[in-house]
């Protein structure tokens, strides 16, 4: 055993230093700074921040804006999560079937994933314009008088959800497709011999075996939902009447529009707490429905 082999642990750590350093400087440090700043009234230009205790948190929780923002976020989740799970699963099954031309279909659905959020949102913003947008123009051809998608409070969040589905379906259906491909064909052959129909096979074989993938998709999409931002910023800017204001949008507005970094940091800490809580809950609940082979 030479010297290098003897001290291999030391060298591994040594070579990891640049990486760890990057993590400390660019991730840990900002995170702890934000936690600290959330107890201050730092406004960037005013010099040293003053500690003000939990005032920022109290202000957030007592402002009716916070409940509105949370409600908007849950509205998004309520509309988006079931749709994306169901549609991605459906599309993934389509990918998995032996239909001709399914490869091309897969590519087409994946294109929005590669598009930048900002570019996609700008296109959709004009397509969804109530007066001159192409969506309402097409609807009028079949006799439907389309709403002001982005200017009507009852449709604004729906529009955000639709555009998010358009963007995300390609990605998540591909992931579920990967899960489907991993299922051993012999299970289906055995079920067929036993006389199971397609619905029974779906319920008893496909769903349980793909459930770890579905669990991953669920966690990812929920975290993404709480971090909803670019489509809102570009398409509605939080409006109309605050109906699409969400957590990250508020963090951005308080931080970089009003320069109230302390307040924005408190919002960010609350967002972190929510995401950690929801993810932990899911981890606990997964025992009920996720099966690992």
């Amino acid at each position: 055993m030479n010297k290098l082999q003897k001290n291999i642990g030391f060298y591994i750590i040594l070579f990891l230093v640049p990486c760890i350093l990057g993590y400390v400087v660019f991730s840990l440090l900002p995170m702890f700074s934000a936690l600290y700043l959330s107890f201050t009234d730092w406004d960037i230009i005013g010099g040293t921040p003053d500690l003000i205790g939990i005032k920022n948190y109290v202000d957030i929780f007592t402002d009716k804006e916070f409940s509105r923002v949370l409600l908007n976020t849950f509205k998004f989740i309520g509309l988006y999560i079931p749709s994306i799970m169901f549609m991605s699963f459906l599309v993934a099954n389509l990918f998995n079937s032996k239909v001709k031309g399914v490869g091309g279909f897969r590519v087409l659905l994946f294109i929005p994933v590669l598009t930048s959020w900002v570019a996609g949102s700008i296109i959709w913003r004009s397509a969804l314009n109530g007066q001159y947008g192409i969506v309402n123009n097409l609807l009028s051809l079949i006799g439907i008088d389309g709403p002001g998608w982005l200017t009507d409070t009852s449709w604004s969040m729906v529009s955000i959800v639709m555009v998010s589905l358009w963007k995300d379906i390609g990605f998540f259906s591909l992931i579920i497709f990967g899960g489907l491909r991993g299922i051993d064909k012999t299970y289906y052959e055995a079920a067929q011999i036993d006389g199971a129909n397609r619905f029974q096979m779906m319920r008893k074989i496909t769903l349980p075996l793909v459930s770890p993938t579905l669990f991953f998709v669920l966690i990812t999409t929920i975290i993404n939902s709480f971090q909803l931002f670019p489509q809102v910023m570009v398409m509605t800017g939080g409006g109309p009447l605050g109906s699409t204001q969400v957590l990250v949008e508020r963090i951005y507005i308080y931080g970089f529009r009003y320069f109230r970094m302390g307040y924005a940091s408190a919002y960010a800490v609350i967002l972190l707490a929510i995401i950690v809580f929801v993810t932990l809950m899911q981890m606990l609940l997964q025992k009920k429905w996720v099966f690992y082979e």
């Binding site: 750590i13 406004d43 960037i44 005013g46 314009n129 109530g130 007066q131 002001g148 109309p240 009447l241």
Partner: protein, 418 residues
């Protein structure tokens, strides 16, 4: 344990390396004794960079021992960039602030008081100079200012066979004309003024109202004058529809709508002149904007301020005073049609008026008699957004103007004053 210690040393060593690089500060004076002044601005961005360079050249010729390093940023990034630089102790020596942001920087002690005793500011328009004073002390030297006028499409007025607007018009006169122009076609509208906080404080002033009481200790958002003014603003959109709704705008900006020949009148800033002169395919002119019971128009101004942490404050002040008060800089500005210089000497005034269209540039000067300013609050930007959220509900029809302003008054007074 030993390994962990070495690791710690490695981390610390890297930190020290990074930290040390910051220590080397740049010498203020170079070997030839030239003082370098960093200057950050936004208003030359997008077309007036050469004019600013010419001003800087003129200053450097007069002051060979001072060198100005100009840096120009777009307006959208400017205030984020500036805040970050100030926070990082990298503030430029001289930088530009508009009147909306001036108060916040001054209150936070980020900018230095300017000793004006040695500076020649005799040419500077009095209103603009006092706008950048706090308790009588000068904290910024204004460079240019602007107001808002009524710009109208002469061709549309001719088509509708009605007389052009005059400086004595009121909202009632405006409405009659706007309706005649709207009647020209379903996609043509009479008049445009946005319904937002920045328009609100001026419009209520036109009706004898105000957002706050005189000593700014309380909001007066739901006064009768204010409610009436807001009702009139909203009626233009929802009742008479001489102003397009958001949907009818179809994602087009108000300037584009005007340039497309679809708008008879637009109430907008004099900074639109250049753009309209270059792009309008029709005849247009201006007049003082109509009032309700009295006249009122916006006052905007930009100033140069000096960083509290600057080591070359004297040279910086000299430069700011040159851009602000010298006739030479003012003439360069006027000839380039770059807003209204604050050093309004007769020559500057002539140079500014000589550039047409608009023919009636006197209206810009007449408007100076009616300037109003928003409440001077550090968090006015937030107040503006909060008020907007209530006004939007009134536009949408979910609240009446009275209800919207009652609720806004309660919410904003409680949040910002009590």
């Amino acid at each position: 344990m030993k390994k962990l210690f070495v690791l710690l040393i490695a981390v610390l060593a890297t930190f020290t390396l990074v930290a040390c690089q910051e220590e080397t500060t740049v010498d203020v004076t170079t070997t030839e004794g030239i003082v370098e002044v960093e200057f950050l601005n936004y208003s030359s961005n997008g077309g007036q960079e050469d004019t600013l360079d010419a001003m800087v050249d003129a200053f450097e010729t007069e002051n060979p021992n001072i060198q100005i390093n100009v840096e120009t940023l777009g307006y959208d990034d400017y205030f984020t960039q500036l805040a970050i630089r100030v926070a990082g102790n990298q503030a430029p020596d001289v930088f530009e602030l508009n009147i909306e942001n001036f108060r916040a920087y001054a209150d936070k002690g980020a900018i230095a008081e300017i000793d004006t005793s040695d500076l020649d500011l005799t040419n500077v328009h009095e209103t603009t100079l006092s706008a950048f004073q706090i308790d009588g002390d000068q904290y910024g030297l204004p460079t240019k200012f602007s107001n808002v006028v009524l710009i109208y499409n002469k061709d549309l007025f001719d088509d509708a066979s009605i007389a052009y607007p005059t400086d004595t018009w009121t909202w009632d006169d405006e409405l009659v004309a706007a309706q005649a122009i709207s009647a020209l076609g379903s996609d043509i509208f009479g008049v445009f003024r946005p319904i937002q906080t920045w328009e609100f404080y001026k419009t209520v002033a036109q009706n004898g109202g105000a957002m706050m009481n005189a000593d700014q200790t309380a909001f007066t958002l739901n006064s009768d004058e204010n409610v009436e003014a807001l009702e009139m603003m909203i009626a233009r959109v929802n009742d008479t529809n001489v102003t397009p709704t958001t949907e009818q705008m179809g994602g087009m900006g108000d300037w584009d709508l005007f340039l497309a020949g679809r708008l008879g009148m637009i109430v907008t800033g004099i900074w639109a002149f250049n753009h309209f002169a270059e792009n309008a395919t029709f005849e247009w002119d201006i007049c003082v904007e109509p009032g309700i019971t009295q006249k009122a128009t916006h006052f905007f101004s930009d100033a140069l301020v000096i960083s509290e942490s600057s080591e070359v404050q004297e040279a910086a002040a000299k430069f700011a005073a040159f851009i602000s008060g010298s006739e030479e800089a003012a003439l360069l500005r006027a000839n380039a049609n770059w807003d209204l210089p604050v050093a309004l000497t007769d020559d500057v005034r002539d140079a500014y008026t000589a550039i047409t269209p608009p023919e009636n540039k006197e209206a810009v000067f007449s408007s100076l008699d009616y300037l109003v300013m928003p409440p001077s609050l550090e968090r006015f930007g937030e107040v503006a957004d909060d008020l907007q959220s209530f006004v939007d509900q009134a536009i949408a029809g979910t609240l009446t103007a009275q209800e919207a302003l009652d609720q806004a008054q309660a919410y904003i007074q409680d949040k910002y004053i009590d």
